[in-house]
């Protein structure tokens, strides 16, 4: 149903020449599924939507290496769409050159990904299902609860497994820097495995603090099963609660971390408590 509708939309896009190609997943005669750029409507019979395969970064690379006015339609899930919007914000994609065909994720998929928004803002095919609160999940709670010592040990145990494949960075749709700070001796010692976990993983996590779209690509690419997405959860929560900001929703809204407290959103923000930290102590 959703597949047929997606195919129809894709066909329409190709036939009406709204875009030069539709980027999605293709299943071939051997049942091999892989990303494919559909440029011929006849090929669309082979279009599939499963499994979850993040296409945003691939789509961005296609757009960047194609002629300036080449338009690309991307069949994307919620996370893909958010990633693409973040890429637009970061000037990697020209907004005019991108069309999205939004498809909804299933409830099962949302549960696997711990996805809070398992649907794109612009939904074209499929039914929205409700999001999952990651903080209610047992796996997450294992890493985010307990006292400092317990958490530190749990995370250290996980992160020292890192084999420095850079997969988390390579798979991340937002990580676009070349060279990357993680390759620099100043921040992360090179040529050593296990790597310096505090710097490698926390620098990576923090660089994405306000742009992470919680797609889970890092985690899926990790050969040693480090739950990298959980690192982002509390920062995402803070951004949402304190500034009402969520990455990947609106291409016009920049991260609140980049602006002064007067601009965003803080006309009614009290001075943070630590401004008067000494004063407070006097009172007590």
């Amino acid at each position: 149903m959703m597949l047929e509708k997606t195919k129809d939309i894709a066909r329409q896009i190709l036939e009406e020449k709204k875009a030069g190609g539709v980027f999605g997943l293709m299943k071939n005669e051997w049942n091999i599924i892989q990303p494919h750029l559909f440029e011929d409507p006849a090929e669309l019979a082979n279009l599939v939507l499963e499994p979850k395969w993040l296409l945003a970064k691939l789509a961005m690379r296609i757009l960047r290496s194609s002629p300036e006015n080449y338009k690309l339609a991307v069949i994307c899930r919620g996370c893909d769409e958010r990633a693409l919007i973040e890429l637009i914000k970061r000037n990697q994609i020209e907004k005019e050159n991108l069309l999205t065909v939004g498809i909804a994720c299933s409830q099962e998929q949302a549960a696997i990904c711990l996805c809070e928004r398992p649907y794109p803002e612009k939904l074209d095919a499929g039914e929205k299902v409700s999001g999952v609160d990651p903080f209610q999940d047992e796996r997450v709670q294992k890493f985010l609860t307990g006292n400092d010592k317990e958490r530190m040990e749990r995370w250290a145990d996980m992160l020292k497994r890192c084999i420095k494949c850079y997969g988390c960075r390579n798979a991340c749709p937002i990580c676009i820097c070349d060279p990357c700070k993680l390759e620099d001796d100043v921040w992360v010692q090179r040529g050593v495995v296990p790597t310096e976990t505090v710097t490698f993983h926390l620098i990576r996590a923090f660089h994405l603090s306000d742009t992470c779209v919680a797609c889970g690509a890092c985690q899926e690419a990790c050969p040693v099963n480090i739950p990298l997405l959980y690192l982002q959860l509390s920062m995402r929560k803070t951004l949402r609660e304190k500034y009402g900001y969520e990455a990947g929703i609106d291409p016009e809204t920049r991260s609140p971390v980049l602006s002064s407290v007067f601009e965003k959103p803080d006309t009614d923000r009290e001075y943070p408590a630590w401004i008067n930290s000494l004063g407070e102590k006097d009172e007590s």
């Binding site: 892989q34 390759e183 495995v193």
Partner: protein, 680 residues
């Protein structure tokens, strides 16, 4: 424009991960992991992620090259092939077919290896064909065939995740086979105990529950001590031994020589740890042993592997889904090259050249007489250069860096009357060649690779070879035809069909069946689904055999003039002789120059600071390299990766061979270290 995404297989280690190569305008521009791949499941290691980088390197060979004095001159293919054929033919005519040596490649596809050995064997009636498996897992093949009947990894990679205990000995899995390390962690997350045995501290030992930091070359004492304790405690699997094994009494008797106390002394660790580890291994429901070069690259390599087999069989930890013995293959197709008979003693499918029935089968099939005399090994072919071996054909191997005692190897390479090297780059070896064939890399050909879990996987062509370079398959066919052989294969699929018809274990393998997930041999017929794990109800040789291992300490131990242990090995961002990885900018950025690891205490003693130059000397030569001061190595131990051409660790290594498998002792030799003066 239309970028294409081509699924193929990673060209580095034996794990055989799935890659998707992105091709733009015929150029491979990026690599992505394959989410659907049965082994890697959407992950890759650092090398896999950069697999495309060397493909378009400007150093790629693009035309056949002919030596003119000290330089090379480009010549067309229609000169190069006849010249090669006639030179080889002349040599064979003059000195006999056994004067030709062929080094096949664990980097090439099964089909190419098959053709290569067929070419050598048919054209020159010699079995002088070998490849670098000799330098990594030759003892595995010898010993496991002796004990179990099959030289391959017994189980599948994914089976590891279900093991209750994983005993990793002599394997730096996290750096050499990172994706397999992920499976180990999966097991750990399910509660498995990870035990690591390594004289160095590595990512594996760091994440293991127990780390046994034994003295170099004391694997047999450790394992014997464990076995002795297992038998003493009655933890051995008596039913398994009674039903499926033979030779237990001999083993038991032999183990009387190895009380735990003696083992502990030899290894330099506590008795209690050996006991503890033995109990954990024996008591776990299913235990897996992972081993690698730390076991095999010793003068007692075969005995080491035999001891491992003994331990596994003693506890009955073979032949079930999650137990087994995991010799991790180092090269993407080292398993395949062995399978395809690129070995001096066997035809494809491990069929002995000395067996006359098998000889007849191949003579009939190939329409040619064949030699029944086992040929020479890699080290022997190189060692006898200019003497018994007058001409050699080296396909994508780099003995100038990979073989022990480099100085000697370099001399030998010069001694060939005629040397043909077929490679993608001008390697250290190719520099000695008389004739160089430019060939194609993994992304430029189709064929099959067999990974360490015996999985035939399809390689798909993503780009064309650069310039006039040709696919190895095509070069072999051309050369074969020039040598008057019937090498009129249209494509590698046809070769695969021929292999299937000749080697029963691969009888059911054909390209059509490999498309989706590959097949694990044995797969005798076209209905067989492939084999997840071996020795299920019976061993390949019938009953398993307990073989008595003979402990021989390393041949060269530290003494007064050479007071340090020296071991060689790999590190995570480089691969083997660095031909590909050092030309991948990303990988090279991680480690740019040669280094050797040295303990802080030793460094303080030598007054060396981190990053300063040191000179390492052994009886065979010396190198100057950068000191990396780290507690990874214990006091008195130096570790040098062998990837670097500017400081060839193999200049130093001891070429003494293991009698059973002819593997050199890379892992231990005695060395002296000095601080190199800054201006020198």
């Amino acid at each position: 424009m239309n970028p294409e995404f081509i699924k193929t297989i990673c060209p580095y280690c034996g794990t055989g991960c799935g890659l998707i190569i992105k091709v733009e305008n015929g150029v491979a521009v990026a690599t992505y992991p394959d989410r659907e791949h049965p082994v890697s499941r959407g992950s890759l290691c650092i090398k896999g992620w950069s697999a495309h980088e060397f493909i378009n390197h400007p150093d790629r060979l693009t035309s056949p090259l002919l030596r003119k004095g000290d330089t090379f001159q480009e010549i067309p293919w229609d000169e190069a092939i006849p010249m090669a054929a006639s030179k080889l033919r002349e040599t064979a005519a003059k000195y006999g077919g056994d004067s030709i040596g062929g080094l096949s490649s664990a980097k090439c596809t099964n089909e190419e290896n098959y053709l290569f050995q067929k070419l050598i064997r048919m054209a020159f009636k010699t079995n002088n064909v070998d490849h670098c498996a000799r330098l990594c897992h030759a003892p595995t093949t010898v010993a496991m065939v002796q004990a179990l009947g099959s030289g391959a990894m017994t189980n599948s990679i994914s089976d590891l995740a279900g093991a209750g205990c994983i005993f990793a000995i002599g394997s730096n899995t996290a750096e050499s086979h990172p994706i397999i390390m992920g499976e180990i962690y999966k097991a750990a997350d399910k509660g498995a105990t990870i035990i690591a045995v390594d004289p160095r501290e590595t990512a594996v030992t760091r994440n293991a529950k127990i780390h046994l930091r034994i003295n170099p070359g004391t694997d047999i004492p450790l394992l014997c001590g464990m076995m002795r304790h297992i038998i003493d405690e009655g933890l051995h699997n008596e039913d398994f031994i009674r039903e499926r094994m033979e030779g237990f009494e001999n083993l038991n008797e032999f183990l009387q020589l190895w009380p735990v106390k003696r083992a502990a002394e030899e290894c330099g660790i506590d008795e209690e740890i050996i006991r503890n580890v033995a109990e954990i291994y024996a008591k776990a429901k299913e235990s897996a042993i992972i081993y690698c070069m730390g076991i095999t690259q010793h003068a007692c390599g075969t005995a080491n592997v035999l001891t491992i087999c003994d331990l596994a069989m003693l506890c009955g930890h073979v032949g079930t889904e999650h137990s087994g013995i995991y010799p991790l293959r180092g090269q993407n197709n080292v398993q395949g090259a062995c399978d395809m008979g690129a070995l001096p003693n066997v035809y494809p499918g491990y069929q002995s050249v000395s067996d006359s029935a098998i000889q007849d089968k191949f003579q009939n099939a190939w329409g040619s007489t064949l030699s029944d005399k086992p040929g020479l090994t890699v080290t022997e072919i190189i060692g006898l250069a200019g003497k018994n071996i007058r001409a050699a054909y080296i396909m994508a191997e780099n003995p100038a860096l990979s073989d022990p005692d480099t100085n000697h190897v370099l001399e030998s390479l010069k001694a060939f009357d005629f040397l043909i090297v077929q490679d993608i780059f001008l390697t250290e070896t190719a520099k000695f060649a008389h004739l160089i064939f430019p060939s194609s890399c993994f992304a430029e050909k189709s064929g099959t690779y067999t990974n360490t879990e015996r999985r035939f996987q399809l390689l798909r062509k993503a780009a064309d070879p650069p310039g006039n370079a040709k696919e190895d398959f095509e070069i072999l066919c051309l050369l074969g035809k020039a040598l008057d052989l019937d090498f009129s294969y249209k494509n590698s699929s046809e070769v695969m069909d021929e292999i299937a018809s000749l080697a029963p274990a691969y009888g059911g393998i054909c390209f059509d069946r490999l498309e989706r997930k590959g097949l694990q041999w044995p797969c005798p017929d076209s209905e067989h689904p492939g084999t997840q794990y071996l020795h299920k109800d019976r061993f390949t040789r019938g009953k398993g055999l307990f073989v008595i291992p003979e402990h021989t300490p390393p041949k060269e131990l530290p003494d007064e003039s050479y007071p340090y242990y020296l071991g060689t090995g790999r590190m995570f961002s480089h691969y083997h002789t660095g031909t590909m990885t050092r030309r991948s900018s990303f990988l090279n950025r991680e480690v740019e120059e040669a280094y050797a690891e040295i303990n802080p205490e030793d460094a303080a003693h030598l007054n060396v600071k981190d990053g300063e130059k040191i000179k390492i000397t052994t009886r065979r030569g010396s190198i100057i390299t950068t000191a990396r001061i780290t507690k990874r190595v214990s006091k008195g131990y130096i570790f040098a990766p062998f990837h670097f051409t500017e400081a060839r660790a193999n200049m130093l290594t001891n070429p003494v061979l293991d009698p059973g498998s002819k593997i050199p002792e890379f892992k231990v030799c005695a060395a002296d270290v000095r601080k190199e003066s800054q201006d020198g």
